[in-house]
Amino acid sequence: MNASGRITRRGFVGGALLAGFGGEALAQGFAGLGESAEGFAPVVPGRTFAFPADHGPHPEFRIEWWYVTANLSDASGNAYGTQWTLFRQAIAPGGPQDGWANQQIWMGHAAVTRADTHRFSQVFARGGVGQAGVEAKPFHAWIDAWEMRGLDPASDENIAPLELKASGADFSYTLRLGALRPLVLQGDGGYSRKSLREQASYYYSQPHYSATGILTIDDKPVDVTGMAWLDREWSSQPLASDQSGWDWLSLHFTTGDKLMLYRMRQTDGQHYGSGKWITPDGKAEQLASGDITMTPLVFTEIEKRKIPTTWRIAVPKMALSIECTPLNARSWMGTSFPYWEGPIRFAGSHTGVGYLEMTGY
C-alpha cells in the first residue's frame, strides 16, 4: 500500500520514456502503462530478495529504475541538489534478445540545482549493444558517459560505496556515496501493495548515504558534501487510470531519521497519502493515508502551470509539523515528460533537508 505512489510516480515517468521522440502515438503504443502487463512477470507477495543479484536488472518485468537524489553543500554553506536516474523499460515481453533485437530501452535523467539555477539533461539508449545497462556484481549502472559504479570494498547489503557521475551541456558532477547501514525494504518485505487496484511493485531504498564530490556548473567546479538517497523499484503493473499526478518527498532529518511520503492526487478529488519513517537504528514505521496532511502554501508558475513549491506537512502520529521550502522554486525537469524535482529544506517541529517531486501539474 505504501508504495502505490512510488510505483506510479516512477512508472509514469518511465512510461513516458520515449515520448520525447515518439509523440503521442508512441506513448500510447509503447510507453505502455495503460496496457495490460501480459507476458511480463507479475509482482507477487513473499519474494525473497537476494543481493547483489537484485541490484541488477529484472528484464522479465516491464519497468525498473535506479534513482539517486542528493542534498549537498559547499564549504561556504551554499546548498545544492543533484539527481541521477536510470530507467529501464521493456518494449516487448520475452527473454532478452542479443544485440539490437534487445527489447530494453533505457533513459537517463540527471540534474543539478542551486538556489539560482537548475540544470538538467536527458539521454536515451537501447539495450543489447552496451550503450546502457546495469550489472549486479561488481555493481555498475550506466548510460552513455553517466554511471553509478560500485567501489571496493563493496558491501552488497549497503549497496556502497558508489561512484556517481553525470554530465549535461552546462553541468557535471562526480559524487562518492558511502553508507554504513543496510538498505531498507519498503512495504511488506519489499513487496509494495497498491491499495486500490491490487497493483504492486518490488521496492527497496538506501536512504543512509553520505556524499562527497565535485559538481561543476558552467565550468566552475565546487567541492560538496551531504546526504543521498537511492530508490530501486521494478514492476510490470500499469498506471492507475484515475490518478492525475503526485507529490512526493524524501526527507533527511538532522536527527538522522528519514521519512519518505507522498500524496497521490486522484481525479475524484480523493488524495491518497502514504509514507515510511525510518529511525537511525533502522526501525521503520509505516504511515497510512489518514496519518498525513499535506497542504500547498505557495505556488510558482512554470510553463503556464501552477506548481505548489512550498508545503506544510503534518504527521500528528509522529509529532511532525513542518514547512518545506524549495532551494529553487524553478527546479523544473523540462524532459520529454516534464515534472518538478528539486532539493528542499524544512523547519518546524523538525528540521532538515530533502527532495520533492511533483508530477501531473
Binding site: 521522440f21 508512441l26 503504443g29 544485440g99 537501447r126 552496451g130 558517459a145
Partner: protein
C-alpha cells in the same frame, strides 16, 4: 485626389480606344512574369527536394564520423564514443535488390537519432515499437512504393530473405528504404558493422576522438551546400538563365508597348499639363496606372507560370533523375515567397521598361511641338556610345574566359558575350545598311536603305531580342545535337553485350549461369558487379569488368596507358571516369586509395573513359578483383554474347525458365532505346524554353513594328504623295523589315556557334565533368534561319497589311497634322 482620379480616367481612356495596345502591354508583362516565375518554381521545387534528401538521416547537413579506412567499422566504436560523451547515432547503409531494382537501404537507430537530423520526428510517429521490434518496418517514399508496384504492408523479398513490411513515409526521399539498424545489419549481412555515426548537436563534455577510437574514425564536417545542390547547380543556372532571358525579352515587348502608348498620348499629356496638372502629379498617375496594370498582369503571369512549371516539371524531374540521380516529386508545391517575388518582379520589370517614357513625361515641355529631326546625329551618338559598351562587354567576356575557373564564370562569359553582341547589333546593322545605301542606284533604293537606318533606333530593342533568342537557340541546339551524336556513339561501345540479365538473387544468378553454360547459342557470359564506396569525401561506384574481348574491343577509352586492359587483370589498376578524373585531377599513371570492405585498396590509374550521364564518379576494375575486395556485393548482373538471330528465343526461354520479366532481362536494342529515350527527355525542357523564348522574341518584334508603323506615317506619306502606291509602300516596308531581320539572323549564327562552344567547352565541363567534341550542323542552322525569317514575316504582316489597306485620308491627314 479628385484631380488625380480624373487624370487617371483620362489616361485610362487611351486603352479603351487602343485595346490591341493594352493587350500587347499585358502580353509582354504576362509572358515575362510567367516564364520567369515558372522557372523559379521549378528551381524552388528542386531545392526543396535536395534539402529533403540532405536532411535524410545525416545527409551532408549533419557532421559525422566515418571509417578512416574501409567502408564500415565495428559497432563497438559507437558504444565507446557514447560512453565517452559523444552524442552519436549509428547508420548502416547498403543496397538491396527488390523486384530487380537496386535500392538504397539505410539502417538507423531511432532512439539516439539526434532530433535535429531531418525527418526524425516523422519516423517516430510511425510507431517506434513496431519499427524496432522484429519483423520491424521498412519505411519507403510513396513514389518508390508506386515504382515497385507494391502496396503498403507488403513484404517483398531480397536475395531470398523476407523483408519487413513496407510502410509509407511521405517525407522520405524516393529510392531509399529505411529500417532499424539491427534489421539493416541482418539484411545486409553485416553484423555489428556501421557505415557512419551522425553527431548530434547536444553539447557536453566529450573525450577527444583519438583517445576513444584511435585513428579508426574520421570526422566529416557538415556541408552547407548539399552534394545534389552542387551537382545540379549547372542545371538550375541553365534554367535561370533561360528564365532571365525570357524575362528580358518580355520586357522588350513592354518597353515598346509603353513607348507607343506614350507617343500616342503625348497630345493628351500636354493638354493635361496645360489644364494645370503638375508634372509631378502626372508622373504619379502614370506610375499608378503602370503599377495597376503590372499587378494584374503579374497575377495572370503567375498563374501561367504555375502551369508552365507544372507542365515542365515531369521533364525537369526526369532530367534531374537521369543526369544527377536527384529525385524530385511530380507534384508542385509553392511557397508564399514565390507569389510575392513574382508580383514584385512584374512591377519592377514594368517600371524599368517604362523608365524612359516616364522620364520623358517628367521633362515634357509644356508647349514643345517640334519633332527631333536631328535624329541622325542623336542616333550616331547613341550608336557610338552603345558600341563602346559592347566592346567593354566583349572585353569582360574575354576576362571571364581567361581568368574564370568556375561554372558561374562560364555563364558570365556567355552573358557578357550575349550582352556585347546585343549592344553591337545596331552598329552592325548600321554598317550593313550603309553599305547597301552606298550601292543603291535608284532614289527609291537609296531611300529604302536610309529609311531602314532611320528606323534602327526604334527597332533595335526588338532586333536585339531576336538576336539573343536566335543565338541561344543556335547554341543550345548545337550543344544538344553534339551531345546526342557523341552519346549515341558512346552508348554503342558501352552496351557491348547482346543480352542483359539481372537475377533476383545470388542463388538464382548461379542457376541462370549454369543453365546458360549448357546453351550452345550463348557465346560468352560476362558477369557484372558494382560496389559503392567513397573517394575524397564523395560517393563513387566501383564497376567490375570481366577480362573479356567484348570490353577490350568496345569499351570507349578517352586516354589510356599501354596495354591498359592487361594491366587491369591483376587487380591493382583501375580505369577512371572522365568526371572523376577531372574532379580529382587524376591522369593516367596516378594512384588512388579506394576504401574497400577489408581496408584501403590502392589502384593505379591506367585509363580514363567517358561516362556520360552518371552523377557519381566511377572507376572500373577487374571483376574478379572487385569480388575479392567487396565480397558482399550482389552478383546478380550479367551480360551475354549471343548471335543476333538467337536473341529473341533466348530471352523468352530465360523469362519462362526463371520467371524473369522485362525489368530483369533485356536485349541491347531495348537498353539503347531506353537510354536514348531518357537522354532525349533530358533536353526537352531546354527545347521547350527555347521555343518560348523565340515566340516571345517574335511578339517583341511585332509590337515594335506596330509602334513604329504609327509614328512612321509622316515618313511614308510624302512617298505616297509622290506616286508610290500603298501596296508598293507595303512591300517596301515588308522588305525593309525582312532585310534587317535577315542581317540580324546572319549575325546571330556565328554568335550562336560561339555560345555552343562556350556551353560545350566551359559550362559542360564545369557542370557535368565531361567535354564533348564540337560538331557543326548546317541543316539545323538553315532551318533556324528559316524560322527566324518566318517569325519576322509573321510579325510584320499585320502592320504591312494595315498600311496596304490604309485609307488615303489617313495619309493626307499627315500633311494637315501639326506633327
Amino acid at each position: 485626389m479628385k484631380r488625380a482620379l480624373w487624370t487617371l480616367a483620362v489616361l485610362l481612356s487611351h486603352w479603351r480606344r487602343h485595346p490591341m495596345q493594352l493587350a500587347t502591354l499585358l502580353i509582354g508583362l504576362i509572358s515575362a512574369t510567367a516564364l520567369w516565375s515558372g522557372v523559379q518554381a521549378l528551381n524552388q521545387q528542386a531545392r526543396i527536394s535536395y534539402d529533403r534528401a540532405a536532411a535524410t538521416f545525416g545527409g551532408t547537413r549533419t557532421a559525422m564520423l566515418v571509417a578512416s579506412s574501409g567502408v564500415t567499422f565495428p559497432q563497438k566504436l559507437f558504444v565507446d564514443l557514447r560512453r565517452a560523451g559523444w552524442p552519436v547515432s549509428p547508420v548502416l547503409e547498403g543496397r538491396i535488390q527488390i523486384e530487380g531494382r537496386s535500392l538504397r537501404l539505410m539502417g538507423i537507430e531511432p532512439v539516439t537519432l539526434p532530433a535535429e537530423v531531418g525527418n526524425a520526428p516523422t519516423i517516430g510517429k510511425a510507431s517506434l515499437q513496431s519499427f524496432m521490434t522484429p519483423p520491424g518496418e521498412m519505411l519507403v517514399a510513396p513514389e518508390t512504393l508506386a515504382d515497385l508496384k507494391l502496396a503498403e504492408g507488403a513484404r517483398p523479398e531480397a536475395s531470398g530473405t523476407l523483408l519487413p513490411p513496407l510502410r509509407i513515409q511521405p517525407n522520405l526521399v524516393p529510392g531509399v528504404l529505411v529500417v532499424d539498424i539491427g534489421i539493416a545489419q541482418s539484411l545486409l549481412k553485416m553484423p555489428d558493422q556501421l557505415s557512419r555515426l551522425l553527431i548530434g548537436k547536444a553539447a557536453g563534455k566529450r573525450a577527444p576522438l583519438e583517445n576513444v577510437t584511435g585513428d579508426k574514425l574520421r570526422l566529416v564536417e557538415p556541408d552547407a551546400e548539399t552534394d545534389l545542390e552542387r551537382l545540379t547547380n549547372s542545371f538550375h543556372l541553365n534554367l535561370t538563365a533561360f528564365g532571365l532571358l525570357s524575362f528580358f525579352v518580355g520586357l522588350f515587348i513592354v518597353n515598346s508597348a509603353i513607348g507607343l502608348a506614350f507617343e500616342q498620348r503625348l497630345p493628351v499629356l500636354r493638354t493635361l499639363r496645360a489644364c494645370g496638372v503638375s508634372a509631378r502629379m502626372l508622373n504619379v498617375v502614370l506610375v499608378l496606372e503602370l503599377v495597376t496594370l503590372a499587378l494584374a498582369a503579374g497575377l495572370i503571369g503567375l498563374v501561367c507560370g504555375y502551369f508552365i512549371a507544372g507542365a515542365l516539371l515531369p521533364d525537369v524531374a526526369a532530367s534531374l533523375r537521369g543526369l544527377y540521380g536527384a529525385q524530385i516529386p511530380g507534384q508542385l508545391t509553392l511557397k508564399p515567397q514565390w507569389w510575392f517575388a513574382g508580383i514584385a518582379i512584374s512591377i519592377l520589370g514594368a517600371l524599368a521598361a517604362a523608365a524612359t517614357s516616364l522620364t520623358k513625361a517628367l521633362r515634357l515641355p509644356l508647349l514643345a511641338t517640334a519633332q527631333p529631326f536631328a535624329w541622325q546625329q542623336a542616333q550616331r551618338r547613341w550608336l557610338t556610345y552603345q558600341s563602346a559598351l559592347a566592346l567593354a562587354a566583349f572585353a569582360g567576356a574575354g576576362g571571364f574566359l581567361w581568368f574564370g575557373d568556375s561554372l558561374l564564370s562560364g555563364f558570365a562569359v556567355l552573358a557578357a558575350l550575349m550582352l556585347g553582341a546585343a549592344l553591337i547589333l545596331p552598329m552592325v546593322l548600321e554598317v550593313a545598311l550603309s553599305i547597301g545605301q552606298r550601292y543603291a542606284q535608284q532614289p527609291l533604293g537609296v531611300w529604302f536603305w536610309a529609311d531602314s537606318r532611320q528606323q534602327l533606333s526604334g527597332l533595335s530593342l526588338a532586333l536585339m531580342a531576336l538576336l539573343l533568342a536566335l543565338a541561344v537557340n543556335v547554341g543550345v541546339s548545337t550543344m544538344v545535337e553534339s551531345f546526342s551524336r557523341t552519346f549515341l556513339v558512346w552508348l554503342d561501345g558501352r552496351l557491348a553485350a547482346d543480352v542483359y540479365v539481372n537475377a533476383a538473387n545470388d542463388d538464382q544468378a548461379h542457376e541462370i549461369k549454369s543453365w546458360l553454360r549448357e546453351r550452345p547459342e550463348v557465346e560468352a557470359i560476362l558477369p557484372g558487379g558494382r560496389a559503392d564506396t567513397q573517394l575524397a569525401g564523395a560517393p563513387i561506384e566501383v564497376l567490375g569488368l570481366p577480362d573479356h574481348a567484348t570490353y577490350r574491343d568496345n569499351w570507349p577509352l578517352l586516354q589510356s596507358a599501354d596495354n591498359a586492359w592487361t594491366k587491369l587483370r591483376p587487380g591493382n589498376a583501375a580505369l577512371v571516369s572522365e568526371q572523376l578524373a577531372r574532379r580529382l585531377q587524376l591522369s593516367v599513371g596516378d594512384r588512388i586509395d579506394v576504401p574497400a570492405s577489408g581496408g584501403n585498396w590502392t589502384l593505379d590509374v591506367v585509363g580514363i573513359y567517358a561516362d556520360y550521364g552518371n552523377p557519381k564518379g566511377q572507376i572500373a576494375v577487374n571483376f574478379a578483383a572487385l569480388t575479392r575486395r567487396f565480397p558482399e556485393i550482389p552478383l546478380t548482373r550479367m551480360g551475354l554474347r549471343v548471335a543476333p538471330a538467337n536473341i529473341p528465343a533466348l530471352i523468352s526461354a530465360l523469362k519462362e525458365k526463371f520467371g524473369l520479366d522485362d525489368r530483369n532481362v533485356a536485349d541491347q536494342a531495348t537498353m539503347k532505346a531506353e537510354s536514348t529515350r531518357i537522354f532525349n527527355r533530358t533536353f526537352s525542357v531546354t527545347a521547350a524554353l527555347n521555343t518560348f523564348t523565340l515566340a516571345v522574341a517574335g511578339i517583341a518584334l511585332l509590337t515594335s513594328l506596330l509602334t513604329l508603323a504609327n509614328s512612321r506615317l509622316p515618313q511614308l506619306a510624302p512617298l505616297w504623295a509622290i506616286g508610290i502606291t500603298r501596296r508598293q509602300l507595303a512591300v517596301i516596308e515588308l522588305l525593309k523589315t525582312m532585310s534587317v531581320a535577315l542581317i540580324t539572323t546572319i549575325f546571330a549564327l556565328p554568335l550562336g556557334l560561339l555560345v555552343a562552344w562556350c556551353l560545350l567547352a566551359i559550362v559542360n565541363v564545369k557542370a557535368f565533368g565531361w567535354r564533348l567534341p564540337f560538331h557543326l550542323f548546317p541543316l539545323q542552322l538553315l532551318w533556324l534561319t528559316g524560322v527566324a525569317m518566318a517569325a519576322a514575316l509573321a510579325a510584320s504582316a499585320l502592320p504591312v497589311i494595315r498600311l496596304a489597306r490604309m485609307q488615303p485620308a489617313s495619309l493626307i491627314r499627315i500633311f494637315a497634322n501639326e506633327r
